[in-house]
């Protein structure tokens, strides 16, 4: 009944508070505007690059703070955003295609804190500005494509095994095969079951028909593959957009979250993320008349296309090379004419075909068809339906000037910008399935700044009001609760920083709410102590049993709030998650500070001596 903590307990609590202070500190130092340079395609980040960058900036008389070499990238800090933007433009121009130059905000944490692994919280998009996209992979299309492939494989297999069939058609989500005789059907079934273990083959002897469906495992496999391929492609594309610290994550079974901090030009980002483009190289049909095709009688073996400026052109149906045979594509300038160009590299299969066709057709025109798939959402009879739009246009017709092999170039593009975008789309590869932007949230830099200031101000004001009230109402005990409340905030921020959690506006509201509710535990304890005093107990005994009795109540009340917070968390879309994270951590830190820290302080003040009266 001495109201004294053993030494180890005091030491432990003080230690926790000190560690909390240290890890919360980095958040006070703010951030430097910075430019981040990362290498592309095997370029190196070495000392010579540091010297080169330093020289470029010195000559342009742009002030800078430091140039740091970090693992695989260069970080240049600037005194203000003006210098940062100027430097970024200049470096982009001077370093060319070998490096990606991106704007970044680099935390200016002092060295001794960095050595301890202390980092500030990461600011969310709504506080720093940037874009958040939610993309959806069109799984129906992915499964469709897979079925197409199986259909042609089945035909080929039946031919190889000399099994006669009447027809192989698609019927919804299955491939239907018709036969002339029972014998053929049985043979086909045996062959297909041996060769296509991923398919479920069902015979219908009456109708002399087999249906082949994707097995569940195969369907799952296709979905996962489509998603994985899209993730990889998006990562490549985003890397080339030149964004510092992008986030690209899977969400659920068919969605991908892309977050691009600091990106202002969302138009370009959308075009690059949302479109799936591929190329086809086809020979131009020079034998037939375009006019006849325009009347609706295209010749056999040819198809009518239009160029970008709307002129009709006939191309041969046979595709020479498709986009997925393209290994690499980069933009630059044609050596002879100086016009924008795209340099294309093919894989061995593509190169072989290209070599054969170009050798046979020297002097003839070849066209590059650019195919873009877009998905538009429409509502039909109150139901949301997706419509896939396929836009095909001839972007370039060039005369074959010699035998192409693995590498060749395409010229005749409108601008460097277009050349760059086209190269980018090609390099990232053809997507397995079209993707569609289903959600976008963009926050401009001015709003981000406003949000931070407002959030900060409301935390400070709310906090001060609560502190003042507690000190006035509970006197000395109130001051003790205030100290605990301060440390509660410190610990909360320290834990969020250690977890490298992203601080968002809803997160800040969570902090504000935590501050308001954190005093609750102390109010419960102090009211109990008052009650005990009124009941005629001695001050020391009142403190003891006040803490003792309040504990169970605090525990129960907080657990239920924690349940609500966890449900919020599992519900887990962005803003709600941020709010839930801060709320849950806040509940735990406030339990620690309100019960243990206040008790320690009160023990220091009153413990182990005769007390006549409590200032409560």
């Amino acid at each position: 009944m001495q109201n004294r903590f053993p030494l180890w307990k005091n030491v432990l609590i003080v230690l926790v508070l000190l560690i909390g202070l240290i890890y919360a500190l980095p958040n006070l130092f703010g951030e430097d505007p910075a430019v981040q340079i990362s290498p592309q395609r095997g370029a190196a980040v070495d000392e010579s690059l540091v010297v080169r960058v330093g020289k470029i900036l010195r000559e342009a008389q742009i002030p800078l703070k430091t140039i740091e070499r970090q693992e695989g990238r260069l970080l240049i800090r600037f005194p203000n955003t003006d210098a940062q933007l100027k430097a970024a433009d200049l470096l982009r121009e001077r370093l060319g295609d070998d490096y990606v130059v991106a704007l970044n905000l680099a935390p200016s944490t002092p060295g001794w804190l960095q050595a301890l692994g202390a980092k500030p919280m990461y600011l969310g998009l709504d506080l720093r500005g940037g874009v958040h996209f939610l993309l959806e992979v069109d799984m129906d299309a992915a499964i469709d494509q897979a079925l197409e492939r199986y259909q042609s494989d089945i035909r080929a297999t039946l031919r190889e095994n000399k099994i006669r069939y009447l027809g192989v058609r698609r019927e919804g989500r299955a491939v239907a095969l018709k036969f002339r005789s029972r014998e053929d059907l049985d043979r086909a079934q045996a062959v297909l079951e041996k060769n296509f273990r991923q398919l479920v083959i069902k015979p219908d002897a009456e109708a002399l028909q087999l249906t082949a469906q994707l097995s569940q495992a195969e369907e799952k496999e296709i979905r996962q593959f489509a998603l994985k391929q899209n993730l990889t492609t998006l990562r490549n594309r985003v890397n080339e957009l030149g964004v510092a610290e992008p986030v690209i994550q899977q969400q659920g079974e068919n969605r991908i979250v892309v977050q691009l901090p600091g990106v202002q030009d969302t138009t370009r980002a959308k075009e690059i993320l949302g479109a799936t483009a591929t190329l086809e190289f086809r020979l131009v049909d020079t034998e037939h008349d375009v006019e006849a095709a325009l009347q609706g009688h295209p010749p056999i073996g040819a198809k009518l296309y239009r160029t970008r400026d709307g002129r009709p052109v006939l191309l041969k149906r046979q595709v020479i090379v498709t986009g997925d045979q393209i290994v690499d594509a980069s933009s630059g300038f044609d050596q002879q004419s100086g016009t924008p160009a795209v340099f294309v590299t093919l894989d061995s299969v593509g190169a072989k075909r290209m070599a054969k066709v170009t050798r046979e057709n020297i002097g003839k025109p070849m066209a590059v068809v650019f195919i873009e798939n877009r998905v538009e959402t429409k509502k039909v009879d109150g139901k949301t339906v997706k419509v896939r739009k396929r836009v095909e246009e001839v972007i370039n017709i060039a005369t074959i000037r010699g035998r192409f092999s693995k590498r060749f170039q395409i010229t005749g593009l409108d601008s460097t910008e277009e050349a760059r975008n086209l190269a980018l789309l090609l390099r990232a590869g053809a997507l397995a399935a079209p993707i569609d932007i289903v959600e976008e949230r963009t926050v401009g830099p001015s709003l981000g700044k406003d949000n931070i200031e407002r959030g900060f101000l409301s935390v400070i004001v709310g906090f001060t009001l609560v502190l003042a009230f507690m000190a006035w109402y509970y006197k000395l005990f109130g001051l003790v609760a205030d100290v605990a409340l301060f440390f509660n905030l410190v610990l909360l921020i320290a834990i969020l920083s250690l977890l490298q959690a992203t601080l968002t506006m809803p997160g800040i509201t969570g902090i504000v709410l935590t501050v308001g509710m954190a005093v609750d535990a102390n109010v419960l304890i102090f009211e109990r102590i008052k009650e005990e005093l009124r009941g005629g107990n001695s001050p020391q005994a009142s403190i003891y049993s006040g803490y003792e009795k309040a504990f169970a109540t605090i525990f129960d009340a907080n657990i239920t709030t924690l349940i609500a917070a966890l449900v919020l968390f599992s519900f887990g879309t962005g803003p709600i998650k941020g709010f839930a994270v801060t709320l849950s951590i806040g509940i735990m830190t406030s339990m620690f500070t309100a019960i243990l820290v206040t008790r320690m302080l009160i023990n220091w003040i009153y413990g182990g001596r005769r007390v006549a009266k409590l200032a409560i």
Binding site: T384, A564, F571
Partner: protein
């Protein structure tokens, strides 16, 4: 001032008829409004496009509307947001107007005015499907939270207490939703988060009162359930009011200083805290009496329930 609070002895339960009438009335009005006009669901749930634009000087709405209508955006709703220099443009999710490109086109149109220098502050685009899913998810989250709490309280206290706290919770949520339905304030994701936080808060309050009721049932040898509940509420009253007050202090700071984006969130929470405080005093405890809670129910957890009416 507050020192008197704890020595007072309000007859809360004697007034429970009045409280019950008031609560029933509020709930009926809320439900009526929710059924007949529903909530004004925000973009998060309905899908659509929203663009917030900042100018360097006050901007004339009529001019912007005219400009947008001239470029085929007759559907656009334009309003000032926060100050006369910021505007908010909303486009509903219509069948042929649902793509992430809309915001780009709107900015192009606004930039075509040679005198204005618009600056993009915020874009929110939500596809119709995402919205549909969210509505479903939100409802589910609410149910899960209620269910989890029900189980925990039933295990820690007794099933009547669990029912009582859920009744109080539903009461708070319905009235807060009703308020949003009547005032036509927009119900978006942040408001949903606020409602779930209200659930947590209201529960916290209720549990503290229930805790005391349980303690007094076990400690006091005399008194009807009604008297015991009254004593318990009086004992916890100062705590209930002080905690609500400190929470309201920070919420008012948020309301006044937090800006437009979290205004509705702050309104929902403020209302929730006020209603939650009232319900933890009247609704939750009165439900215990309605459910005929007895001292025997709490003496020993493993004792079978007795339906004997000792009143």
């Amino acid at each position: 001032m507050a020192a008197h609070l704890s020595e007072r002895n309000f007859d809360f339960m004697g007034k429970r008829r009045i409280a019950l009438t008031l609560s029933t009335l509020l709930i009926l009005i809320s439900l009526g409004s929710l059924i007949f006009q529903g909530l004004k669901l925000g973009l998060d749930f309905t899908g659509g496009t929203l663009v917030e634009v900042g100018y360097d000087r006050p901007v004339d709405l009529a001019k912007v509307r005219h400009l947008l209508a001239g470029h085929g955006f007759e559907e656009a709703a334009v309003q000032h947001f926060g100050s006369s220099r910021e505007i908010l443009i909303r486009l509903p999710a219509t069948p042929d107007l649902s793509s992430a490109d809309l915001s780009n086109r709107i900015m192009e149109v606004l930039r075509s005015d040679p005198e204005a220098r618009p600056q993009l502050r915020r874009v929110e685009f939500v596809g119709p499907q995402v919205g549909e899913e969210l509505t479903e998810k939100g409802g589910l989250a609410m149910l899960f939270a209620l269910f989890g709490i029900l189980i925990y309280v039933a295990w820690r206290f007794e099933y009547r207490f669990a029912l009582g706290s859920i009744i109080a919770l539903v009461h708070d949520v319905v009235i807060t939703l009703g308020f949003f339905s009547i005032t036509r304030l927009e119900f978006d994701l942040t408001v949903l988060a606020a409602i779930l936080a209200v659930i947590g808060y209201s529960l916290n309050d209720t549990i503290v009162v229930f805790d005391r009721i349980r303690e007094n049932f076990r400690r006091l040898r005399r008194g009807t359930p009604e008297e015991i509940i009254n004593v318990s509420i009086n004992q916890t009253l100062s705590r209930t009011l002080i905690t609500s007050l400190t929470t309201l202090l920070v919420l008012i700071a948020l309301l006044v200083l937090g800006g437009e984006i979290i205004r509705n969130f702050a309104i929902a929470l403020t209302l929730g805290v006020v209603v939650g405080t009232y319900s933890s005093i009247y609704v939750a405890s009165a439900s215990l009496l309605l459910l005929k809670v007895q001292r025997e129910d709490l003496l020993l957890p493993e004792k079978p329930e007795s339906d004997a009416d000792l009143l």
